[in-house]
């Protein structure tokens, strides 16, 4: 039994999974409240990654940063979270709010339009080249956890730790604060919540802000650990995050976290033990199997529709 390989694969999978979980959370939250599949979510991640890259460039770049590394990374995260959050709010306000009472397909199409728009805007203004975070210049690859032969780069740990912190923070927010209760109520029954005096619009705006901020943060994390960003990256992460949200049970926050990790690990195991070529096929087949056998996802509640 090759333990080192196993642990390495688990680490790979957890890194990927953390990112997917962050994206899945945003999807899940928005779906829970609005019953809307936000296809533009992956592109918010992409914009967050570019914002982080912009901040990095302003503060001297990876080779010669003008602030200490930890502060630099924190600033990048904060900037991308704020930027991503506001982008999400803007998308909600202008693309989804007019369609609150329209047939379900309308906001979906609008989301596709927003996605198209964001991708090509970035392409138009910043070009098609891949941009690099050059993280290896920032943090040496040998800084990290060393266990025997195993090397775990500290940036991976940063990714996993940040993602988990944010997820725990979100969970606490939803379960313990008034806003969280309002979000749960709105997700359960929007009209009843409104009648109970909850300002539904504000809750929705806050949900979008939080979800998109998470996506923005995920974008920076992706840039840090995998290095390269370009205008098209949102599609893939959006798709996988999507998968994760659905597998975990869309609308459920622990489900999204679990789903993200599950998909990340599945991908890593498929690539490591079966074949890198067909890892996507395997992941999608898992998804389709889960959908057929348990349509509401692993943690989701079976949808009961009141007639």
């Amino acid at each position: 039994m090759d333990w080192e390989k196993l642990v390495q694969i688990i680490v790979n999978g957890t890194t990927l999974g953390s990112v997917y979980a962050l994206v899945a959370l945003g999807f899940s939250m928005v779906y829970g409240i609005l019953k809307l599949l936000n296809f533009a979510h992956g592109d918010v991640l992409m914009v967050g990654a570019f914002i982080g890259w912009g901040v990095l460039g302003r503060l001297g770049g990876s080779l010669d940063p003008t602030v200490p590394v930890v502060l630099l990374i924190a600033l990048m995260m904060v900037a991308s979270m704020i930027g991503g959050g506001f982008l999400g709010v803007a998308i909600e306000r202008f693309a989804y709010r007019p369609l609150r009472n329209a047939p379900r397909i309308a906001p979906l199409i609008s989301a596709l339009g927003v996605s198209f728009f964001l991708q090509n805007t970035v392409l138009l203004l910043w070009g098609a080249d891949f941009r690099s975070y050059d993280t290896f210049d920032l943090v040496d690859p040998f800084t990290g956890l060393h266990v025997g032969v195993l090397n775990v780069w500290i940036i991976r740990l940063v990714v996993i730790a940040s993602a988990f912190t944010m997820m725990l923070g979100l969970y606490a927010l939803v379960k313990k604060t008034k806003l969280g209760k309002a979000m749960q109520a709105t997700a359960f029954d929007r009209e009843a919540a409104a009648m109970m005096g909850i300002d539904v619009d504000k809750v929705i705006v806050k949900t979008f802000f939080i979800g998109s901020a998470l996506a923005g943060a995920a974008g920076v994390l992706v840039g840090l650990v995998f290095g390269q960003i370009n205008h098209f990256m949102g599609f893939n992460y959006g798709l996988k995050g999507f998968t994760a949200a659905v597998v975990g049970g869309i609308g459920s926050i622990p489900g999204a976290m679990f789903g993200g990790l599950f998909i990340g690990l599945a991908e890593a195991f498929a690539a490591g033990y079966i074949s890198n070529t067909f890892k996507d096929v395997i992941v999608f087949s898992i998804l389709i199997a889960v959908m057929i056998l348990r349509p509401s996802g692993l943690f989701g509640k079976a949808a009961v529709s009141k007639v």
Partner: protein, 490 residues
Amino acid sequence: MTDETQDLPEGPDAAARPRVGVDEWVERVAGGSEAGWQGALRARLERVPLWSKPIAFVLPLGLFPFFTGSDYWMQVGIDTLLFMLLALGLNVAVGWAGLLDLGYIAFYGFGAYGFAFLASGHFGLHWDGQWVIPIVVAATVLLGFLVGLPSRRLVGDYLAIVTLFFLQLFLTILLNADRLSIPFKGQVDFTRGPNGISDVDQLTLFGWRLDSLDDYFYIALAAFALVFVGLAFVNDSRTGRAWRSLREDSLAAELMSMPVNRLKLLAFAFGAGVAGLAGTIFSASQGSVFPANFDVTALITLYAMVILGGFGSLSGVAVGAIVINLALELLRTPEKASWIFFGLLLLTLPFVIRPLGRWLAVAVGTVVFGFVVRALSEQFWERGVEGTTPGLARIDRIVDGWVLVPADPDGLAKVGYLTLVAGVLGLTLLKGWWRTAAFVPVLYLAACVWENVMVGQPAVARYILIGAMLVALMASRPQGLFGTARVEIV
């Protein structure tokens, strides 16, 4: 005693109010609920007899090859016809049965590859078209059934997800099935991977070999006409009515003993069959087939066509396909793109700024504003007028003296673009005269951004316009041009 001057809370704005609409039956029977000449036109259009609609399409399209001798426009025509065919098929699943199928392009690809398998050098089979087409269409219908099977247990959005993933799965298989290791046989090259199948035969029907663009154009037209008429009959039949009931309220339909599951499968199958047919014609006319032909961009473009035309309406989606495909084609070249851009502005703005008088005021105001800004720039900011627009159309030459063309746009380009986006979004928030006044600088800024930034990269700019169009269309008229406004019963 309560204070009678107490402020009442503000009423909900238009978007938050429950949408009042009619269901389709009422709309069709009572008809004509829109005011003005648009309503009258629409009412008129809806009353035309069934047989006139295919003729209205086939007649001018049939004459099209005589208007143009150019191979390029014939190719565009074939592409448009194939998209129209696809739009008709997608309309069945999405428009009539209300099933959101995001994997539709996979059926198209399946049909194309199916034809390539049976009539090319890949497996050495060179069957005639009259055998290959029915076989491939039947196989695609079967695939549609299979894909539709999960739909029985899935509601709306879940179905969308599963079909989207089916598309990804299909693409991945196409791309990688050239090195399948099958035990006992070793490496098998099933789909030739990213290299595609490049020696697909020409279509041969009953001995007649199609080898010119005109031939393929007419075959595609014939297929379109046949499918159009066939689907129109289906729409009027019991199945069509059953689909409509499924779309409007699936629970009620089930209670009324509609075989809901069977209907869903049927919708998928019909749509898939039409896509398969389009795929075979595509494959034959191109002479080659690659996985990259069937990606998500094609899917979104197809959806844009169906949405613009108004899903649920056969002629609507066909018109949508024509409009979008032509617009995309014309927007691809810097020589023609500006015509489309300014034409679009001139066409759509009168519907946003009513009445006509106000629109004229805005137009004149924008022109004057532009010259004023330019004069000011010549005085105080010379850089603003030093450059020239990269646009190549005649209209660009004309406009060059009107917009600001800074010498090295770069950073300004980003600022200008983002300001424009903010401006357009801000416009949607304003009302009344403020809004009309704000239109002037925003329109001028739009012209400047177009001339400086977007016209030099028309391939990118057109997707930005498509994306923006989809959002704007959904916000203002979700039923598209020819659809009927629906209220969803939740």
